[in-house]
Point group: C2
DNA sequence: ATAACATATGAACATTCAAACAGATGAGGA
DNA sequence: TCCTCATCTGTTTGAATGTTCATATGTTAT
């Protein structure tokens, strides 16, 4: 169940203690995982990238990604919950956009990373 | 199956075309999703954060996270596949570290984001 | 009010995934 | 060689996730 120490050098113990002291809270790690999980899906990655180009209504997203409105809507719900997108209603339509520049930066960093290592 | 356009304004069509033209390839989106998926797990987020503080051997990670060595090893396998960590062998031990500063930056951005919105 | 449309939601199904356990590999010491 | 230790790898099981279909909500126009 719980990990046991390997043959313990003082270096080993020192590192373990130091890292343990600096670890974030469970709550923060849960948020962090949830944030990245929201990016970590083919469909949502495409939605987020599309929105990084321009604000779009649900049906426009469905058209761009060639997917059903329902599928898009379900994913948008998750993205809303993760606070990655915001929306405004205009008549029958609902327009989605990225929540802030942090989200745009994360997408950008991600793209840079995958392009650097082929 | 495939999405249909909503009542089509010229604005709508213009946006759809523009976004479609700028979308990345399927391959790139798959990579992008895979990258973020690797971050998007409670255990892996903790591993990556721990490694952002200091290089650690598998048993040290198991100790820090209070998990079995096996569980850690399985996750490290995924992180290796995603090219997020590198490792060096030293006798019986295997020491893991973040692959590059891109990874560190992504973690940092993520933490900034969750801290900004409470 | 009724119809048509845009979006959201619920339930069912299929797939993916992490944790746990057992066994395998490989390095070092007696 | 035999044994131990650190790590890795299969396999199974239960949970989480994505997609689809059907339906519900809410808006606009007739």
């Amino acid at each position: 169940m719980t990990g046991m120490a390997c043959s313990v050098t003082s270096e080993h113990n020192h590192n373990v203690k130091m890292v343990q002291e600096r670890m974030l809270s469970e709550r923060e790690f849960l948020f962090l995982a949830e944030l990245f999980k929201a990016f970590g899906d083919y469909t949502r990655a495409r939605i987020l990238f599309a929105l990084s180009i321009h604000e779009l209504c649900v049906c426009a997203l469905a058209e761009v990604l060639d997917m059903s409105q329902s599928a898009i809507s379900h994913q948008l719900r998750l993205l809303r919950a993760a606070k990655l997108v915001r929306y405004r209603k205009e008549g029958k339509n609902v327009f989605y956009a990225l929540d802030d520049d942090h989200v745009r930066n994360l997408i950008g960093q991600g793209i840079d990373h995958i392009r650097e290592q082929g």
